[in-house]
Symmetry: C2
Subunit: 307 residues, 2 copies
Amino acid sequence: MEAIKVFCPATIANVSCGFDVLGLALDSVGDEMTVRKTVKRGITISKIIGQDLPLETSKNVSGVAGLAFLEKSDYNGGFEIEIDKRIKPGSGIGSSAASSAGAVWAMNELLGRPFSTLELVQFAMQGEKLASEVAHADNVAPALFGGFTLVRSYEPLDIIAIPTPTELFATVIHPQIEVKTSDSRKILKTKITLEKGIQQWGNVGGLVAGLFQSDYDLIGRSLEDHIVEPIRSILIPGFDDIKSNAIKAGALGGGISGSGPSIFALSKGEEIAKKVAESMHETYQHIGIPFDVHISKVNTQGVKILA
Amino acid sequence: MEAIKVFCPATIANVSCGFDVLGLALDSVGDEMTVRKTVKRGITISKIIGQDLPLETSKNVSGVAGLAFLEKSDYNGGFEIEIDKRIKPGSGIGSSAASSAGAVWAMNELLGRPFSTLELVQFAMQGEKLASEVAHADNVAPALFGGFTLVRSYEPLDIIAIPTPTELFATVIHPQIEVKTSDSRKILKTKITLEKGIQQWGNVGGLVAGLFQSDYDLIGRSLEDHIVEPIRSILIPGFDDIKSNAIKAGALGGGISGSGPSIFALSKGEEIAKKVAESMHETYQHIGIPFDVHISKVNTQGVKILA
C-alpha cells in the first residue's frame, strides 16, 4: 500500500467526572487525511483545506507526531500528508488530537503495523505537546483506541479501553467563542477538598461500571463533576441552561467537552440525542451565539480507513 | 422460620485507591450471630462471646442497626441476638460493620425479606454511626452485597456491586496495636492537590475495569493510593516493609485495610496468598509485634446462613 485515506475522529475528553483521564471518540465528526509514502525521508504536509494551519512540519501537530513516529521507525522513506480539516481548532473536541492520531495511525498502516496502539498514542502525544504545551493523552487515546478510554497513569503510560454500550450517542454543541486551552487550565485551582475528591472518584468508578454493564441510568448518575465544571463553565455563556435543558430533553447527563467551549450530552439512542440537539439549538439561538451542533454515535473503532 | 444463624463477614474498606468508596467482603474471617424472633417488641442482646462489648441495645451496633430496621418495619414482634464475636474491634476489617450488617440481614430473612439490600445498608449504617460517629457505608455495603462494592454517592445513597474475579484472594495481617478510627481520620488533610486527585480517580477507574475484566495485572497496577496511605501508614509500624515484601512474594498490590492498623494484600490464587501471608508473618515476627494473619477468598455472597 502506497497511500491511504483515513477518518480521524473528534473526541470528548474528561467526560464530566474523569478530568484528565477519560475520553471518548465520535463517529460523525472528524477530519479526513490522506497519507502517502515518499522516497524522500521526513514528513511533508502538502495541502491543508478547511482551516488556515501551518504547512511547516515542525509547526503542524500531524508533522510533529509523524516525526516522533519516524524517529522510532526503521523505515527509510518518508510521508506526505494532505489534511481536510473539518474539526475547528479550539472547539474543545480534540482538533489537534485528530490530526496527530490520524497521521501516525495511517503511517503505521502503510508500514504494516510495526507499532502497537499504545506506541501510536505516545507519538501522537507529541502533537498534543505542540498544540497545548502538555503531552496529554485524553484525546489521542480515544482517537486511536476508539470508544471510551481511561488514562490510568502517565508514568508509565497505562491506557485502558472501556467497552461502549451500543446505544450510546453524544450530542455536542460548539458555541463560536474562543476559550484558550491555556486560560481554561489557568483558572483551575491546584488544590481541591478531599470531600470533592471522594465524590469524583466515586463517580469515575460508577461511570466505568455503568459502561461495562450497559447501565445507562448509572452512566447518567455518574456524569457529575464537582471540581472542574463549576469553575470552567464560567467561561462558557449559557452553560447551565444548555445542560439543564439537555437533561430535560432526555439526556443521561453531560458537561464540558475537554477544556470547552463545546458542551456535550450523552443519551440512550439516536432519537433522544436528536431531541437534545434541538434543545441545545434553541437555547443558543435564544442567547444569540452562533454555534454548530453534532450528533454522533460513540465510535468504537477510532481512526479508520475511508473507502 | 423463628431463628437463624448467620456468618457476618469481615470487610476491607478503601482498597487502596478507593478511599471512602470501595470495599470488599472476606470469606474466612467473620462473626457468627444467632437471631431469634421474639413476641416482645424491641431488640435484646442476650449473649456476646469472644469480646467484651455492651449488651445494652442502644450501646451495641447490632442493637442500634436492629432498631433502625424495626422502626421501618410493620412487624409487631422483636428480636433476640446472640453474637459470637470473632473479629476484633479496632482491627480495621469492619468489626462493627459485621455486627450491624449481620443483624439486619438475619432479621430481614426471618421476616421474608421485606427490605432491599440497599435498605439494609441504610439500617446497618446506623450501627456504623454509633461505632465511629460517621454513618459510613464502605464496610456495611460489601458485608451485605458481597464481593466488591462502590459507594458512588451518599445523597442519594447509590451502591454499585462490582463483579469479583474468581481467583482473587486477600491476605490480611492485623498487628495488635491500637489505632483509633477517630485519630486515623484526624491526621488526614482536608485538601489534596488536583494532581493527586487525578491519579486517584485514574486508579479507581482502573481497578473497577480490572475487576470487570478479571485483569489481575490491571487490578495490581491500580492498587495505588497517593493520598491517604502516605499519611495513615505513619501510624502502622512496619507498613512499608510488610507491603513491599508482600509484593515481592507475588501479591498484586495492597495497602491499609480501612483506617488500619490491618494491612491487606490481594493475590491471584490461594497459593500466592499463602506465600504473602508467610512474608507478612516473617516481617512482623522480625519487628516483634504480635499479630493475626488471615487468608481469604473474596466472599461474593456477603452475610450468609450457617448450617
